[in-house]
Assembly symmetry: C2
Homo-oligomer: 355 residues x 2
DNA sequence: AGCAGGGATGGTAGCGCTACCAACAGGCAT
DNA sequence: ATGCCTGTTGGTAGCGCTACCATCCCTGCT
């Protein structure tokens, strides 16, 4: 035990993490450090025999690669920046879940940012993210401000815009048409015989506005649009905000026979408000939500809603980003995952028409 | 325009990111690069005059520090690893929001991992995180397995366990007593005169089990415990699972006059199930939830729940982590943020006793 | 036999930053 | 004047890894 080995010397030195490095592994395996690097990154390029010796050395030392050193040397980080406008919102939690699960065991890290529905915040976060030269970016929506838009275009990495699709992608897009979804709900309520169909919206981000536009287009088509039918607020969405919006709408437009809500939280608020006021759903008033949260199906009455592919959007976004990082750009850069109108009790045509 | 400046030369070189570096800023400002480094990290140690020249150079070049290089040189990364068991769950979304907002504009990054309530997954993720030598770790719960526990103890960085408090912190803790919360709900229902109080629980993670234990302790105290009162599943929690559990409970124990749910989703399911079955709440059956989601207050009837300081837990956890990173260890390493029983219509003592 | 071509392996020189030490000036006590 | 401390600045040597090029050896061809 007279000699001290290399790593002991290393440990005593003033700098460094004290952990084994590539060079330690290389020394133990009796190969060059670059060969270890290759064996770890691209095993096919190293002979099976060396590969095994290296694997044994890695195990013995408990070697873990240093991502910072890799990033510095290769001038790229294995980080995907994800910008979403909210976390309170169940919708984006689902998207994030899809992103995380779509990642599998690949060594990418997710760097996540919450823009709080603010363009300035989005720009600020994007600047921070770009400072790290991420491998890819995933951003929510298609309505970035001009500065943000330009930053994305010059990002030098794949960019996936999610939640919505539109005509002019920065790079790639996964989502669905909120305009069409808004139209579909309005058409359905017209089909079941509603005349005075209100629209309730909280937060009113660009996607909600597009759904409202779909509603408005259909209502105008059948000559039933009326600005008093629309009740919105830019305040955050919540179940209690649904209650408030419904009360406000009824005050202004007491003859409403249906409300389309810009999301399920608002719809649930309306349901509770009706219950409290003794209004029969759907006999006296019909309710439609948006997103199809799990509870919509078991609510009493069950609530019509638009199922949106939130989880799937996350998965596809990450899949597209990974493909693009690997140089395999997907054929279609704009993917429409569609939506599905789930018709339930809350908008059933009553057996006997109400009044 | 005969000469090319330094950064043009840099751009033409085969390696590197092509972006300005500390040395470029130093050259432009006419100082040493280490001075620029100091001016950026600890401005007080650089004279005001140089500080200003450096700031101007940074602006002119659009210099952004390279975090990988910093991490490599300083042997530490400005990353806080956060492990939570779920993202679907509104509760943890709130915690994450608190963590992100508690971060403010400090240059720490959050590295987030979803353990899916699995010990193995937690261990795997922790291993990945530790490979990066994070500045701090935030983990959920106090029931880590022995391997995970040991890894945390040897992490070499501040560790905050959140959601729950217990007698034996790895390092720091922020949360509240789920046992006491469970007791409080049970006592309340006993106080309002309930005799046959059921407990419904989905997922039944350790925190839910502790709430159940609190319920059981109180029920035994008053001589009313009975295993048929408890209906649980390890399947994930959801509103529809609340419906299922309630049906199952009623089948086995038809004389239930109250149910304590292990969370608000389950409680909401029970409310819907009662509504569908024509059971009056609270006259025929009382419902208590847990977490106090925003909708509990506006539900019809409003639902009694235990307000838990989820957002605050996130904020405090990050504040404690930051303090510990800065070397200012908080006096109290275990912080009990408490809970609050919100008594609402769903557990009101009926004016006329039911039956 | 001689040589081109390709696959496997290694050496070297950074990537951009910070820790450590050295240097130097200016103020104070001796 | 000397010494010493404090505060400011700079030089240098890495941090652990990978890009680039060089080297070597083996195969198959002329």
């Amino acid at each position: 035990m007279a000699s001290s080995n290399d790593s002991e010397v290393r440990n005593r030195s003033r700098r460094g993490s004290g952990r084994p490095t590539l060079a330690d592994v290389a020394g133990l395996a009796g190969v060059g450090s670059i060969t270890v690097s290759r064996a770890l990154r691209d095993p096919a390029r190293v002979s099976p025999e060396l590969r095994q010796r290296i694997a044994a050395a890695v195990d013995e030392l408990g070697y873990v690669p240093n991502p910072s050193a890799r990033a510095l040397a290769s001038a790229r980080v294995d980080v995907i920046g994800v910008l979403v406008p909210s976390l309170t919102n169940n919708v984006f939690a689902e998207v994030l879940r899809g992103i995380h699960e779509g990642l599998g065991d690949c060594p990418l890290q997710i760097q996540f940012g919450n823009t709080h529905y603010s363009d300035e915040e989005e720009e600020r976060l994007l600047r921070v993210f770009l400072g790290q030269r991420p491998s890819a970016l995933i951003v929510s929506g298609i309505d970035q401000g001009p500065t943000t838009r330009q930053m994305l275009e010059e990002a030098g990495c794949p960019v996936v815009q999610i939640m919505e699709i539109g005509p002019d992608p920065v790079d790639m897009m996964v989502g669905f048409s909120h305009l069409e979804a808004g139209k579909a709900v309005a058409r359905h309520l017209i089909d079941v015989g509603c005349k005075r169909i209100g629209f309730l919206g909280a937060r009113m981000d660009p996607r909600s506005r597009r759904r409202l536009a779909g509603y408005e287009a259909v209502m105008r088509e059948v000559g039933r649009f009326d600005t008093t039918l629309v009740t919105t607020t830019t305040l955050p969405s919540s179940v209690s905000m649904g209650v408030n919006l419904f009360h406000k709408a009824l005050e202004e437009t007491p003859d409403l026979d249906a409300v389309i809500c810009n999301n399920d939280d608002v719809a649930l608020g309306v349901l509770f408000a009706c219950h409290r006021a003794g209004l029969q759903v759907p006999a006296q008033i019909r309710i439609a939500g948006f997103n199809d949260l799990e509870m919509m199906e078991v609510a009493s009455p069950s609530i019509t809603s638009v199922r949106t592919p939130r989880y799937e959007i996350g998965r596809r976004a990450i899949a597209m980003a990974r493909a693009a990082i690997a140089g395999k750009r997907p054929q279609r850069t704009v993917v429409d995952l569609g939506f599905e109108l789930k018709i339930r009790e809350s908008t059933m045509r009553p057996a006997v028409p109400a009044l």
